[in-house]
């Protein structure tokens, strides 16, 4: 445990020192790595328990488009828009997850349902091209450096955000990893019937991890949108 915390501290120190010594381009790479790492962490919260989702693009898309649209059309600050996107995305996870888990849509079939879901969201974004810019993508209206709009031309801010969010992802991961839910989920992914037989609420356990995963993915998508200041349906 002692050695572990040393490694963690050194790692954090490196992350903090990184922006001081590297070029802007490298910082850009680091932000991307951290954000993708975060999204991947969110995805694998489900993936490790046999819930292979090909629909996380949908959650990312909602997370990115909701705050951008609210900002562009209603001047709503991303501080409200992002949580809204996250909530919507979690709701979508709930709506798609509940019937899936209730009706035991598992394995390949679950993957295909989520694939269809991502197509639905992607094509809806393209179809609503008057509002979302369709396949050409859209740009959140830029007003320069602003905490209110969560826009920072200086990469260092986003680097800090990316580090924090990435850590958040790891903390959630750890919470799931060490919680009682993990045992339940592992049992479920091994044998659903048997897990249900020993009193695990299969649907609830799966739903919980799905909703967490969807929400975090949406957060990742939102930050990508804010950072790159450009969204297009293909990237989700």
């Amino acid at each position: 445990m002692k050695e572990n915390s040393v490694v963690v501290l050194v790692g954090l120190a490196i992350l903090i020192a990184l922006p001081l010594v590297t070029s802007a381009y490298f910082l850009h790479l680091a932000i991307q790595i951290l954000l993708w790492g975060f999204v991947y962490t969110a995805w694998s919260m489900m993936g490790r328990f046999g819930l292979v989702s090909l629909g996380h693009g949908a959650f990312m898309g909602i997370g990115a488009y909701v705050p951008a649209l609210l900002w562009n059309y209603y001047d709503m600050t991303p501080w409200l828009g992002i949580p809204l996107g996250v909530v919507l995305s979690a709701l979508l996870g709930l709506v798609i997850g509940y019937p899936c888990f209730r009706l035991k849509v598992v394995g390949h079939y679950f993957a295909l349902v989520t694939l269809a879901l991502s197509q639905v969201v992607l094509l809806s974004i393209v179809a609503a091209r008057d509002i979302t810019g369709g396949s050409l993508g859209m740009t959140p209206r830029s007003i320069g450096h602003s905490w209110y709009a969560l826009q920072f031309p200086d990469k260092i801010y986003f680097y800090a955000i990316a580090v924090i969010v990435w850590l958040l992802g790891l903390i959630v991961w750890r919470a799931i990893d060490q919680g009682i839910g993990r045992e339940a989920l592992e049992a479920i992914s091994d044998d659903e019937e048997a897990a249900a037989a020993v009193g695990i609420d299969v649907t609830r356990e799966k739903l919980r991890v799905t909703v967490i995963s969807a929400a975090l993915t949406a957060l990742g998508g939102a930050l990508f949108g804010q950072y790159l200041m450009y969204l297009n349906p293909e990237s989700v």
Binding site: I96, L112, A116, Q119, L123, A127
Partner: protein
């Protein structure tokens, strides 16, 4: 009935043939090897490029280019099985999905690298037939006919030949089949090759109608998966019905609203149907 609507319906019907053919190939692989080839539509893309290069660039006669594309994609199917699927046959579905997903990105990027993102057309314009004010492209009619024949040939092969029987047996119970003296690995290889050949045939038919570009697989790949699952595993008739329903939704929806919305509708229908009838619309 509105004549343009009728035209949309007929064109949807003709599209259904090719989609059904591709879904059949996927169905075969899914049913027999129990692996989802996420990259299946990208094998079709490779086949379309093969047709394009052989025919339009090297000046091969079209039938020869078609034959070469079919054989080439069949070989590609074999390769995919040997290099990617065989080593992970017993691992979790997630690993198999990710491995074939990796293949998808590999093929798309590789095609982009080799050919660029230009839309390429083989440069054949088949005549358009007019029947009572309805315009039907000859290419689509041809594609539908050939797809139908391909499906019938596959059906006969599965029903009549020894290997076909073994393939069907594996789809039913892969554990017992080994005891009956069937070499599973060989059957898997044959299945992969047939799946590849069907992708090649589909590629030839699509090359007649559409421009080829590295990401064409993305446009109809998800559709094929939907049709394959909706039709029910190992169910050829169901595949055709599902292909028909999906393509009609797209054709008619595209006529009334917009193409994207009609796809959205088709995918939402798929999700709902997965909840109501996970075993496919036509269950045995």
């Amino acid at each position: 009935m509105d004549i343009f609507l009728l035209e949309a319906v007929i064109n949807g019907l003709l599209l259904a043939g090719v989609l059904a053919l591709l879904a059949l190939g996927l169905n075969l692989i899914f049913g027999v090897i129990d692996v989802v080839w996420i990259a299946y539509a990208d094998l079709v893309m490779c086949g379309m490029y093969a047709v394009y290069w052989l025919f339009a660039e090297y000046g091969w006669p079209l039938p020869l280019a078609f034959a070469a594309a079919i054989v080439g994609v069949a070989a590609l199917g074999l390769l995919v099985h040997l290099l990617i699927i065989a080593p992970i046959l017993t691992s979790a579905p997630i690993n198999q999905l990710l491995a074939t997903g990796g293949l998808l990105y590999f093929l798309q990027s590789f095609a982009t690298l080799l050919f660029g993102t230009d839309f390429r057309n083989i440069g054949i314009r088949l005549p358009i037939i007019e029947i009572g004010g309805i315009y039907v492209s000859y290419a689509r009619l041809l594609a539908f006919g050939v797809a139908l024949m391909g499906a019938i040939a596959l059906y006969l092969f599965l029903k009549r030949s020894y290997v076909g029987t073994a393939i069907r047996a594996i789809a039913q119970d892969r554990e017992i089949v080994g005891l009956m003296g069937v070499d599973q690995r060989r059957i898997y290889l044959v299945t992969s090759a047939i799946g590849g050949a069907l992708a090649g045939l589909g590629a030839c038919l699509l090359a007649l109608q559409y421009d080829v570009h590295p990401f064409i697989g993305n446009t109809f790949g998800p559709l094929i998966f939907m049709i394959c699952v909706l039709g029910g595993l190992g169910n050829m008739i169901g595949g055709f019905i599902a292909a028909f329903i999906i393509s009609q939704i797209i054709a008619i929806g595209g006529y009334y609203y917009s193409t994207e919305l009609s796809y959205v509708l088709a995918f939402m229908l798929f999700i709902v149907l997965m909840f109501i009838r996970p075993q496919g619309i036509v269950s045995r």
